[in-house]
Amino acid sequence: MAESGIYVYGVSRDLPGEAMERVGGVAGAPVRVIEQGGLTAVVSPVSLAEFGEEALRHNLEDLGWLESTARAHHAVVDAAAASAATVPLGLATVYRSEDRVRKALRERSEEFTRALGRITGRTEWGVKAYADLRGATPGGTAAEEGPAARPGTSYLQRRRAEQHTEEEARREVLAIAERIDTELRDLAATGRLHRPQDPQLSGERGWMILNAAYLVDDARADDFRAAVARLAGLRPEIRLQLTGPWAPYSFATEEEAWTGS
């Protein structure tokens, strides 16, 4: 029989014992908790035949495996975060024994406590913005085709459209992306930028001009969502997507350690 290890999903504080009872972990394993010094590690057993070094090297390149592992990891972290302040750990953090997990909790206690302090009472929200510049290029505006348009207006609009080069349009939407980010950061405790997603992989046709995460006080969640809705109406060529609530994945580490962008 293959050696086993312990997969650690995240570290919580004051996690109710029953919160994880019906949650399945990676590879369908039952989830349990390990308590140590006021911190709770959320874990499940894994086979090192699947999660050992050699196996991971291979498995991480398998999209099907990566997806099911990522989704299982997320389901556990999400369930824990819905019940208690939870700092997610990186994907596939595996220890050889419960003692080794306890040792890690002891040694990193200060860091986890700091991280828990940062995220308690707050939730991560994702905001993505896409620009579709096709409508902003010359000849693409609907207004100049309107039969009711007055000749003078029509001429001016056409001239404006002609002068509106794609480069200008790009600069303009980037400035708007910056404005969106600035306004949302004002409402959030903090924000971080992820890398733009590859359209081939996201399935989105628009140009991604913002891929951000914001850590928002729960008391301001409604204000934040209202601001996203308002900013979504800024310009017809810019689309916003709100995702979340997320466990605070993007805010588990200190700002200096952030590698997202």
Binding site: G52, P88, G135, Q200, L201, G260
Partner: protein, 93 residues
């Protein structure tokens, strides 16, 4: 073109509840760049984020042939219509 208009006028107050299926690409943004990185006993554990990114670069490079093969099997040679969702690709990864 219509897409922008229709999506823009769609109601935006609906907020997905926890537990709803999330887009893999959004999840991988967070799982690969986020989370506390602690060194597990398995040395590939994501303390070596770079190593994982290298793996992902290989993954991304393999997606298209893989996708074509899968769809060919299912679709008898039809060109792929839907991109497979994956993670962020960046030249300097």
């Amino acid at each position: 073109m219509d897409r922008v208009v229709s999506e823009r006028s769609a109601p935006r107050t609906a907020v997905p509840a926890r537990g709803q299926r999330v887009a893999l690409v959004d999840l991988l943004d967070r799982l690969l760049a986020g989370g506390v990185v602690i060194t597990g006993d398995i040395t590939i554990s994501i303390a070596e984020v770079d190593l994982v990114r290298i793996s992902l670069r290989a993954l991304i490079a393999s997606i298209r042939p893989e996708m074509n093969r899968v769809l060919d099997d299912e679709d008898a040679g039809q060109p792929p219509r839907e991109p497979i969702q994956g993670t962020v690709s960046r030249e300097d990864m």
